[in-house]
Amino acid sequence: MVICIYVITLGMPPIVITFLGSITFCLITVLYQNGTNLKSYSSLIAVFLVICILSIVVAILGHYSQMAGFNELELCEDISQLSTDIKINMQSLMITVIMLGLLGAVMDTSIAIATSIFEVYQNNKELELHDLMKSGKSVGRDILGTTVNTLFFAGIGETLMMSVLFSKFGYSFEKIINSKVFFQEFSIIVIANIGCLIIIPITTIIISNLLKSKSAVAVKIRKLCDEV
């Protein structure tokens, strides 16, 4: 994490760092906790796919809604004396912020689903692709409720100060909903939740196909994992 921040300050483009950084985080966490096997590979692929998809969504959204940069409340505080000529594009930094924010939750969900499908498969190897997907779906349903709430409460805890400020100064609804600070915090929470949602089918489809498919790639990966 610290290395990541320093590399960005050295002037590397934040988007590249986001991808490299999140792959490294995933590799370390998943491989350290899970070992090298089919489960780890499929959740790695799934997490990477989700990050790619959401980066595109955030890039488009950020382009139009101007959510990058410092918000109204931060601006009146301590950064006002600092020089802002730092030649780092805040638009792409925002993508980094959101992607890193959702990485932990997405990894957690993905590993949980991959492991339970793998477990189901090991207990009964005759199961069809369809059955594996079904079990993945039901596990996903179980995990999702608590994950969404974890993210939601973490977000609320973080934005408590902001909400108190809004209510103290009597901000109107239209002012809150159009303000940059609300949109930043809101999009971090919602995009993390969307990430947790779409990782469920992606992981399910990837791992059940890796386990069952007869295509050359899947067979190759299976062999590779068996050897390890």
């Binding site: 802002t84 000529d85 912020v97 932990g104 492991t115 608590t146 973490a154 909400s163």
Partner: protein
């Protein structure tokens, strides 16, 4: 396509289709709701850009500045339909300034001078993007999880409502500490009830969450009693007299979700373990509780770490660029993120033995050699069981 078809049933696709159409309707409404606003809104029609200069930053970077000539059309109020021109300067980093594109809606303050209109921009209209994100979230929720997703949505809505009410009460002068306790209890009970229904497991999870939160609060109070963090350095300061209380409430609510997650997993796993294991001894039960705890701890702490640290990234980078040392940063700037993260992690770690203990207490009342004849129940619980068996 065949793969996707295997995953989703037709009925779900239809429901999702209805949801998508509904949200498209709201989105179009949000895109055209100019008449609801009192402030003047203008849509940017065309933009001309010109590079003006580059300024030198603190480390010798060349920051480029551009100037935009923006042509916009006013959409509401007395100037509706009139064209307006203004200039806007923006920089490559875009930290304090914004770059406008054609098609954007902006709030604008108009002043009339000899029949010529000029304006200053006060912000961008973001409501349609909020609607877009909510729509994306709800559609994905319905498509992927179906009925359970609706329950999750319901619990979220209830929680948001409670939160808004609580903040409203605070601005009417109620004490935030008491409000925080009420909020925690309500959040906890309602969320678990909505998600899990009334069952022994739910009640067990509820009790263990409350105990773990209480323990975390206790530890936090002792630590802040010994050493006060200087709250004046915090973001978004508003009310200097109860900063400590609000910060405490933020921390407690922030770790509540994680603690709840741990409690649910722990209670269902212990429940399941007692029902499926053939020879249940205290030793094996305690050992498996430790194992589950070890499994969930790592990932939960990861979730908290990434959620908390990522938000302070732009500030940290700006300050490093301006020559702050890591030491100063940790001491004055990210100290609150660190406190938040550490207290959250302590909460998670405390929640593991507490919810293990509570689960066992509830189990004992039920009779430790539970009947395994209920096969349906067993299949239902298999999911929770396999979750804690991951990484074994």
């Amino acid at each position: 396509m065949a793969l996707i078809k295997k995953y989703w049933s037709n009925k779900k696709v239809i429901i999702a289709g209805i949801v998508i159409i509904l949200f498209l309707a709201v989105l179009i409404l949000a895109d055209n709701n100019y008449c609801f606003y009192h402030k003047t809104i203008a849509s940017v029609k065309s933009v001309q850009e010109k590079y003006i200069e580059s300024q030198e930053g603190p480390n010798g970077e060349q920051e480029k500045y551009y100037i935009q000539r923006v042509k916009a059309v006013v959409r509401n109020g007395i100037y509706k339909g009139k064209e307006i021109n203004f200039k806007n300067t923006y920089s490559y980093s875009g930290i304090k300034n914004e770059k406008y594109q054609s098609g954007e809606d902006i709030f604008i303050e108009i002043s009339e001078n000899d029949g010529k209109l000029s304006g200053t921009v006060s912000g961008i209209k973001r409501d349609k993007y909020v609607v877009f994100l909510v729509g994306l979230f709800v559609t994905a929720l319905v498509l992927i999880t179906g009925k359970q997703g609706l329950l999750t949505l319901l619990s979220l809505l209830v929680n948001i409502l409670i939160f808004i009410l609580a903040v409203g009460f605070y601005s009417k002068g109620k004490d935030f500490e008491i409000l925080c306790f009420v909020m925690v209890i309500l959040f906890n009970c309602l969320t678990l009830l909505i998600l899990g229904g009334i069952s022994r497991k739910t009640i067990g999870a509820m009790v263990s969450t409350l105990l773990a939160v209480a323990a975390t609060y206790f530890i936090y109070t002792i630590v802040t009693f010994i050493e006060h963090p200087s709250y004046e350095l915090m973001d978004y300061i508003v009310a200097p007299n109860d900063l400590g209380k609000i910060f405490m409430a933020g921390i407690i609510i922030g770790c509540l979700g994680a603690i709840m997650d741990v409690a649910i997993t722990m209670n269902s796993a212990v429940h399941e373990f007692a029902h499926t294991a053939e020879h249940l001894t205290w030793k094996s039960l305690i050992k498996s509780i430790q194992e589950i705890g070890y499994d969930i701890m790592g990932t939960m702490i990861n979730v908290l770490l990434f959620t908390y640290i990522s938000g302070s990234l732009p500030g940290i980078i700006l300050k490093i660029k301006n020559g702050y040392s890591l030491n100063t940063l940790v001491q004055f700037n990210i100290v609150f993120e660190i406190i938040r993260f550490l207290v959250g992690s302590i909460g998670i770690i405390l929640a593991i033995p507490i919810s293990g203990f509570i689960a066992v207490v509830f189990l004992k009342k039920e009779g430790i050699n539970g009947n395994v004849s209920n096969l349906k129940h067993y299949i239902f619980n298999f999911n929770c069981f396999s979750r804690w068996r991951k990484r074994r």
